[in-house]
Symmetry: C2
């Protein structure tokens, strides 16, 4: 049996997943409401076919045979064999009965969670959350544990991720962030213009499309639509789609969603076509993906230089916008720091504290140090300590995120990894390019995309996430570049 | 092996086709251009999986077993077994190698046809058309022939259709239509207002959505988008989509496209949900489908009564529209008869002459009476005789339709069957309802839809097309109701 036969099976597996992506995109963006039931059934059916393909006897034999003479393969081929081995092992370890049970509980949990959040009723949610925690433990029992059960969950979202790796990284990050936050809270309050006007949606759309194009997004190979929650998705070679949402009173919300999703989309558009439908041509991890979105959104988008280039375009779309508001003021508006309850609305300083809080709680849950029923108490007390805020109700606290209802324990840390990687990558770019600020201000963004293409996108899954970052930057992932970035940025904005 | 196992296999087959529908809709309506190659590959892959499923040994055995005790099944179940038997037989008779060869030749032919049409160059097209005719003959050789090879092709698009059935039907229709056409051409020319104004697209959209809703289209179970050529497609229970296109100078073009596609869409929305993903819950034929679109478009939409109800809504959308134009004038504009070259732009009188011309030509092609190279000559001479027009170039003649390039020989007659069925169904409705004109004028359209639901939609594939029409109307399909309709309508409009 040959490598070609192996790739044919892998292509089939990837093709089924690509079809799932198309149907999911349609489900979120286009599908009329009454199509929901049939669509859910079709997606479940496709999951079954994907699982069948990846766990087939044939696939197992093909992998084993290739592993016997792995040295005959080149690096691209080795990547495909090793990555499919990893996926195969995980998929075969999980009983089909378990996967179906998990899927059903997730569906049920998402409904209950939505109601519990609406009614601010944690007790309504606790039983199903307990079930989900149990299911996650059961998953760990199938996948096996090297050191801690939580490691197994972390690895599921970011290969190689462990508590041993995250603990020192996050500890340093947390103390650094709290230090900056305290300086900001002590700083003199700035005067911020209140943008009390209407920003018509078609104009916002036109502005955001221009920014996305300026970033290098290829609209012959993609499109932008509206959905309840912004996301990006790759459907095939030549077809990557992003979504956003509009708020007529707030043009920043849409802009930074579009920059974020465009960052994700550029990664997908930059993956090597010739390895399409194989792991070699696929993004390596959630953390690295998030680094691409955050770099464009924050390191580039939330800067005065960005606004120096973009504000004239913005003012063309909104001729009534006050002429006196300049790039410095736009940058101030876009970078206000304030401890707040909701993660997805958080600024760059407090965002990662939200994540580390969830990380600590998940760790305790799977260490057996914390019971589901005690979650609100622990959440609220940590929140008070770190953010200085009293959580008034669980809707603003432990009930705010959908992730646990989807069975996604161990997912949150990838958000912070993305922020750390982004700062580290941008640092390296600065040292290579010299005056990056000038490039941003001049709209000369293509070299940035080219650098990311060469150092990240084109690599697909050739290296592990941490190796990829090390190869691109010369250093292992660390929280230092991010903390330096935060210090430098906010000491300027808040004069400390 | 049980009926349930059989249905499970049938569901899988139908589900794959439903996925193909979703991907095809996206391809025509949403997909960015660079996604085309991957999409074509995915659709071809899905065709392969569908073929695999319908032709499997398991499917064959399930069908045979059920056929042995067919009398134990109820009518719905029998329909499923017999219809799947028909599909299974066709699919197993065609070698996979042939299907692939046909698919490749079709792809190639569509490209060549587009260029030949653009360059008005039949000679460029003749070789590939010859290939397609040969492939159709090869298909007939696999499927078998009872009387004429063309019968086999006809049956592929409308089950049970034969030359013996169509010849007398079309002969009577043709002479009747030419008679009416001659009267119209001799009639005094009417004064028609020239609508020289702009009809903004969002206003047209809003108007067309209102008409579609008035017809009963459920937008919680469907949507309307834009595509190059209007179409309707069912994606699943609760998800039927229609498309249209806009011309700012001509509001009629979009309106009648929407009414046509809504008619198709209502058929799909009216199919019985409980038989979803089986033949029993599927539309019976192209001809019956076309009857649903044409009934709404013509019998209802192209009447003075329709405009009496709709014109006030139309004028609300277009406040600059001349106040003096009334329903009678709108009806005149919508019903001008004039021999012209292009089928898809033809009026109700000449449209079916276009079809019968193609039918005669296809018949001769597969009888061996006509060579591909002689097509333009024969086409043009028939056109001169029937329409009184000299075909100036083949782009306006034999090169105008895409159907043959798709290998679709025997398809055209279903368009005319649709027109005949529509008139016959509407006749029956009139006799049951009494004053249908009053219902149309009053916007009281729901009883019409209900009648179609009960007599056509809910039946799925329970009866053959001609049996279905006979059961609904009490008479076998005939051209008389249509000719009466045409005579009555145009004698009023043209005063003959």
């Amino acid at each position: 049996m040959s490598y070609e036969q192996f790739i044919e099976e892998v292509n089939t597996y990837s093709r089924i997943q690509a079809i799932q992506s198309q149907l999911s995109w349609d489900q979120s963006v286009m599908m009329p409401p009454n199509g929901a039931k049939a669509r859910a059934e079709t997606l479940a059916w496709l999951s079954g076919r994907a699982h069948e393909t990846i766990t087939s006897k044939k696939m197992g034999e093909l992998i084993s045979n290739l592993e016997e003479s792995l040295d005959d393969l080149n690096d691209d081929q080795k990547t495909n064999v090793l990555e499919i081995r990893r996926t195969y092992d995980k998929a075969t370890k999980l009983p089909v009965e378990f996967i179906e049970r998990l899927a059903k509980t997730r569906s049920k949990a998402m409904g209950i969670w939505a109601k519990a959040r609406e009614n601010n009723d944690f007790n309504m949610y606790a039983p199903i959350l307990t079930e989900l925690v149990e299911l996650a433990r059961e998953k760990v029992s199938y996948l096996g544990t090297e050191k801690t059960p939580y490691d197994t969950l972390l690895d599921d979202y970011e290969v190689g991720l462990t508590v041993d790796y995250l603990d020192p990284l996050f500890a340093k990050l947390k103390s650094g962030l709290i230090e900056v936050l305290n300086k900001i809270l002590l700083a003199e309050k700035q005067e911020i213009v209140d943008l009390d006007m209407n920003f018509p949606i078609p104009k916002q759309e036109s502005f955001c499309l221009k920014v996305s194009e300026q970033m290098g997004f290829d609209f012959d190979s993609g499109r932008m639509d509206i959905s309840a929650h912004p996301f990006s998705i790759s459907i095939s070679t030549g077809d990557t789609r992003i979504t956003t949402r509009y708020d007529e009173k707030d043009p920043f919300s849409c802009l930074y969603a579009v920059m974020h999703e465009t960052g994700h989309g550029l990664y997908e558009q930059g993956l090597p076509d010739k390895f399409a439908l194989t792991p070699r041509g696929t993004a390596i991890s959630l953390g690295v993906h998030e680094s691409q979105s955050r770099l464009w959104e924050n390191q580039i988008g939330r800067t005065e230089e960005f606004w120096k280039f973009t504000l004239p375009i913005f003012k063309e779309e909104f001729p009534d916008f006050p002429k006196e508001i300049d790039a410095a003021q736009m940058n101030l508006i876009a970078n206000q720091v304030e401890p707040s309850f909701i993660r997805v609305e958080a600024d760059e300083v407090t965002y990662n504290l939200h994540i580390i809080l969830r990380y600590e709680i998940e760790k305790q849950l799977f260490n057996g140090e914390l019971e589901v029923n005690d979650l609100p108490k622990v959440w609220n007390s940590m929140f008070k300590e770190w953010f200085g805020l009293n959580v008034e109700n669980d809707t603003k606290g432990v009930l705010q995120d959908i992730h646990w209802s989807m069975g996604a324990f161990g997912y949150f840390p990838t958000y912070t990894l993305g922020n750390l990687y982004a700062a580290q990558l941008f640092d390296k770019m600065k040292s290579e390019f010299g005056n990056v600020n000038q490039m941003i201000e001049g709209g000369n963004w293509l070299p940035i995309l080219d650098w990311l293409r060469k150092n990240i996108h084109e690599k697909g899954r050739l290296h592990s996430p941490s190796d990829l970052i090390e190869k691109a930057t010369g250093s292992q992932p660390s929280s230092e570049p991010f903390l330096n970035y935060i210090n430098e940025k906010y000491s300027k904005i808040y004069n400390f």
